[in-house]
């Protein structure tokens, strides 16, 4: 899965997967009792149809790009950083914690401070998963998954306990931040230009680091073959920790942006499962960092458009999630078929 493929093959695969997904989706939508073409059209128009929709899609695109870029680092080092959800959450927790002492608001510097705090929070959580892997010999999938649960538990405890709203015990979230601590959004949307700029910068930076720096090269060497990397003195343990910390910091940034830019408070669902979606993006992109923004945009449009399903067709919006799942599965199916075909040809 970690082998690099040519751009043409990736694109071909993507197209094949899209066609397969379209067929499967049409079937599902038909079973759900809705007009398939209209459903898909509503999904797409619902995510792209107007400036407001585009702004919404862009607002979802931001955390997706941040997290997918973050995962490019760990994927390069051959790591399955499932713990990214927890790292987003910790970023949100740290950002909220940083801003809590300022109920009467403050300057933009505080917001920047919160973003930094979020990065530290995410990085520390990722470091924990990394140390579990390098020292504790716990595979990062299990370590990360465990830490995700701990992160959610921590958030719930904070929201229901020390950070509760006065006189209220509700899982719905903490007291909203003072409006001066909100990231400025474009007229009436939750799209913040600052977040957009940050996401773009981070993506370009990660792409550059991975393709054109020695560190990126070493990371990939570790990802390809740890034993060889060890022999070449590349110190894979340290590289792994570096990749994890980098990934965690970026995920933490995404979490912090959800707090100051979108929800303006901490809630249990603050990560919005963007981490898991980003894992899908990173897997689908399989090292092709160029297509990451495109894939993220696609998922963002699906996410935003899904709300139109119940509004216009009285369909459950989770159908969009099903479509997303079908798409990813189709991709892996196409990949699987391809390999099977290759094996068959070889045996003939």
């Amino acid at each position: 899965m970690f082998s690099k493929t040519s751009l043409a093959t990736s694109l071909g695969r993507l197209v094949a997967a899209l066609v397969l997904a379209l067929v499967l989706t049409t079937l599902i939508v038909l079973i759900a009792g809705a007009p398939p073409l209209q459903t898909l059209a509503i999904l797409v128009v619902g995510g792209l149809g107007s400036a407001a929709k585009l702004a919404q899609a862009a607002a979802v695109w931001i955390p997706l790009v941040l997290c997918s870029s973050a995962l490019l680092l760990t994927f390069a080092a051959g790591l399955w950083n499932i713990g990214i959800e927890g790292q987003i959450i910790l970023g949100a927790v740290f950002a909220t914690g940083f801003l809590r002492p300022f109920p009467d608001g403050g300057s933009f510097l505080l917001v920047m401070g919160a973003l930094m705090a979020g990065m530290i929070g995410g990085a520390l959580w990722a470091l924990a998963a990394g140390l579990l892997r390098t020292w504790g010999r716990v595979h990062e999938i299990f370590g990360g998954l465990g830490l995700n649960f701990v992160a959610l538990g921590l958030t719930l405890w904070l929201i229901f306990g020390p950070w509760k709203r006065p006189g209220i015990a509700s899982m719905s979230g903490t007291e909203p931040l003072h409006p001066t601590l909100w990231l400025e959004a474009l007229g009436g949307s939750s799209l913040s230009p600052v977040s957009l700029l940050l996401a773009l910068t981070v993506f370009l930076l990660v792409a550059f680091v991975l393709s054109s720096t020695q560190w990126g090269l070493r990371l990939k060497a570790v990802g390809q073959n740890q034993d060889a990397a060890l022999l070449f003195g590349l110190n894979p343990q340290v590289r792994i920790l570096e990749a994890m910390v980098g990934c965690g910091a970026l995920a933490g940034l995404a979490g912090a942006l959800q707090v100051v830019g979108v929800y303006h408070r901490l809630l249990p669902a603050i990560s919005s499962n963007y981490g898991y979606t980003a894992l899908l993006v990173a897997m689908l992109a399989s090292f092709r960092s160029q297509i990451v923004p495109v894939l993220c945009f696609f998922f963002a449009v699906l996410n935003v458009g899904s709300i139109q399903l119940p509004l216009q067709l009285k369909l459950d919006s989770s159908l969009a999630g099903v479509i997303q799942g079908v798409l990813v599965l189709s991709f892996f199916l196409v990949q699987g078929f391809e390999e099977r075909f290759r094996v068959l040809r070889r045996t003939e």
Partner: protein, 393 residues
């Protein structure tokens, strides 16, 4: 000349035609509804959804546009103002947000759309002065419904232990749990003539209005714990029907237990053996009145706390809250309930009259003092005699 006349005729006809077409194509009055739970939850959200249908029936050009499961757990990544944008884009002129959880979002959205009227149900932004001018609050005086629920629970219990399945802790839920207790205490002392010290009334909070797996306490488990620890009547304070479902399971296993659901008139259906009745909201009349006022341009911001129509608390056109007696309620208890309801109606029975004490022993109402609306709305603790947390620890 002829040709010019003809051309003129065509133009005139066209103009008339377009005019006529415009007249025929009347725009519906779109009411947007944001429901915190599923529209068919047999509880809180369904009561609102049904009120929307009532509105469509009574106001012929009204059209409800609803979006359910509006909470971050079910719709990750979406915020209330975004959803409001969608409804406004679809032509909504009145938007009803149906959850306490939407307080901040509704306020934010109302500020962004001053031309649209917003109703935030169960909130008090108008009272506190935080509401922009286009945002009003509506709530039903469910205190009465809860008193009746507590009353029939106390008349039915054999163990003298009543469980209250509470959602999250805030002013609303405190006052409703307390009302239920007051009704129970009245039934226990005045009707069953038993000392109050022998009545156990326990509140367990799950942390939200309904179950969010992994986030809240599981209401099914909480209800099970109640029944397994000797509570034989569980009164639900949450949006959904877990208490009733668990009671049915216990009943099928041979246990003599009962439950009282909440919010939705039809909640008892299918649970005849255990359902003592349901205190429910009837939002239809208030929504109809609001929609008419908005349509005519005569709507004024208000904080409405609508009571039952005491002539007939189950009148769908006039009563904001009701209590539908369940099939499991004994005839004797039913008669006592009728007497109790009459007492509440005439004001002969006022359970919010002192002396009443908070859980920590401090005074809520002095001897002979009758609570004002604000005192009831902003109750600070549960009452003395109730077991369970008054506020977050």
């Amino acid at each position: 000349m002829l040709r010019r006349m003809l051309r003129l005729c065509v133009v005139v006809l066209l103009v008339l035609g377009v005019g006529c077409a415009k007249e025929v194509e009347k725009k519906p009055f779109v009411v947007g509804m944001l429901l915190v739970g599923p529209y068919n939850d047999r509880g809180w959200s369904q009561a609102h959804y049904d009120a929307g249908l009532y509105l469509e029936r009574k106001l012929p050009d009204a059209k409800m546009l609803y979006l359910d499961k509006v909470n971050p757990a079910d719709r990750p990544g979406l915020t209330l103002p975004q959803l409001v944008d969608d409804l406004v884009a679809k032509g909504a002129r009145l938007i009803i947000a149906n959850s306490d959880d939407m307080t901040d979002g509704a306020r934010e959205a109302a500020k962004q759309h001053p031309e649209v009227t917003f109703i935030h149900v169960s909130g008090d932004d108008v009272l506190t002065g935080k509401a922009p001018l286009n945002l009003g609050n509506i709530m039903g005086r469910m205190e009465y419904g809860k008193m009746m629920a507590g009353f029939v629970a106390a008349l039915t219990t054999k163990t003298g232990k009543i469980g209250y399945l509470g959602p999250l802790i805030n002013e609303e839920t405190r006052r409703l749990a307390a009302s239920c207790y007051l009704g129970a205490a009245y039934g226990w002392e005045k009707v069953r003539k038993r000392p109050l010290s022998e009545l156990k009334f326990k509140v367990s909070w799950i942390g939200f209005w309904f179950n969010i797996p992994g986030v809240t306490a599981d209401p099914t488990q909480v209800a099970n714990r109640f029944f397994d620890s000797g509570h034989d009547v569980v009164v639900s304070g949450i949006d959904t029907t877990e208490a009733l479902v668990v009671a049915m399971q216990k009943r099928r296993a041979g246990r003599q237990v009962w439950a009282i659901p909440y919010d939705y008139e039809g909640a008892c259906e299918g649970a005849d053996e255990v359902c003592l009745g349901v205190p429910y909201f009837n939002w239809g009349p208030a929504y109809l009145q609001t929609a008419r006022a908005v349509k005519d341009g005569g709507w004024k911001q208000a904080w409405e706390w609508n009571g039952p129509d005491w002539k007939d608390i189950n009148n769908h056109d006039t009563s904001a809250v009701g209590f539908l007696v369940g099939p499991a309620l004994s005839r004797a208890a039913n008669e006592e309930l009728a007497r109790f309801t009459r007492g509440l109606a005439t004001g002969k029975i006022n359970l919010f009259r002192g002396p009443l004490f908070y859980q920590d022993g401090s005074i809520f109402l002095k001897e002979g003092e009758t609570a004002t609306d604000q005192q009831v709305w902003y109750m600070k603790q549960l009452l003395k005699g109730m077991e369970g947390a008054s506020s977050p620890k």
